[in-house]
Symmetry: C2
Subunit: 215 residues, 2 copies
């Protein structure tokens, strides 16, 4: 994790872990706009100043949470694809991992991965859709996302070494896996899965999109 994202490492203390845990819960419950350090402090049972000792502001905290998420996705993808030889099958697995609901990993007791997944779907892009994106990028805050895109880009090139847009196709897969999910649940007429609300259909849509491009 990038040290510049926090003032004090939240992984290093109980209070820090509570900040992460309750942030995820509160953002998931009320949305990022309604989320404040005051409410977070009340929820935890500490003070606003206590939170500010860990994170400079809400935006940094969001980026931290997003970075945590992308690191975790990358780890999961590597773990679950490293024994698959066929790059097409590997890419298929990647699509499935990105587009389907995740089960809470009990090892990381301070992070509910399922809530986290929901947060990133609805709030993740707000981490970079800002005027400070250039500054934030200089601090390498988006490295986990970029690493993931590079990983997926490599698989794409294994499928078809002549394909010209491996990174853009990666971001398309990632962003669309999330956006189609958001639309399906919130603006169903913006997808073809509004009636069934079945994540598997998003997977099939993305597979079709990706594999016809790579043929």
């Amino acid at each position: 994790m990038n040290d510049a994202l926090f003032l004090r490492n939240p992984e290093d203390s109980e209070l820090g872990k509570k900040i992460i845990k309750h942030s995820i819960q509160l953002i998931s419950k009320n949305g990022l706009e309604a989320f404040t350090f005051k409410k977070l402090a009340e929820d935890i049972g500490t003070t606003e100043a206590g939170i500010y000792r860990y994170f400079e502001n809400k935006h940094r905290l969001l980026i931290y949470i997003a970075a945590w998420y992308w690191n975790w996705v990358e780890y999961r993808i590597n773990f679950q694809t490293n024994n698959i030889k066929d790059p097409f099958k590997r890419l298929q697995k990647v699509i499935k991992l990105l587009a389907t609901t995740v089960v809470d990993d009990k090892k990381t007791f301070h992070v509910d991965e399922n809530l986290l997944h929901q947060i990133i779907i609805a709030e993740g892009s707000k981490a970079y859709l800002t005027k400070q994106v250039g500054e934030d990028n200089k601090h390498h805050f988006f490295k986990p996302y970029k690493d993931l895109c590079a990983t997926i880009g490599d698989i794409i090139l294994e499928c078809n070494p002549k394909y010209k847009y491996p990174i853009s196709l990666s971001t398309t897969i990632i962003e669309m896996a999330h956006l189609q999910n958001f639309f399906m649940n919130n603006l169903p007429s913006l997808t073809d899965f509004g009636n069934s609300k079945d994540e598997k259909k998003i997977v099939v849509f993305l597979e079709n999109l990706v594999f016809s491009s790579l043929k």
Copy 2:
């Protein structure tokens, strides 16, 4: 335009048109987060209360601007494709219109379409990525966006009547046309066009993506 989006129709008065014009300028310059009704009022030379007579809040104003944009895009697409018979050529035109910089239409002197395009790229998704999306949707605030998707979906079906995901492919084209542009200019290593910063490459990427799916 949906009446429920405003308290007083901004198209009906000089002040109203100034609100739209200066909103677009200010959001484009400082981003949505830094944009406030107070600053907008100062910029126009009116008072905060004056703005509140037109729009309930900043979020409604954003949705209004986005709705204006999607209506305008739809109009443009219809105008520029209605004499093209071949649906593939029509879809090609749609992709080009969505993914390339727009020239300011002097007829709408109170809206700089080029700035507007930039705003929608960076801030457009914030109109729906909220907890109130369901409520906002009940008020039909996203109808222009949906109509555009339906229009593009119809062209897709003309290209291939058996294609199963015309709406999801439409949102993919629209959102990726914008997102690849944002990445190209702000997080270039998340695209394959970072070096050239050439919008035409985004068009080629999207054409490749879409037409290989429809074959």
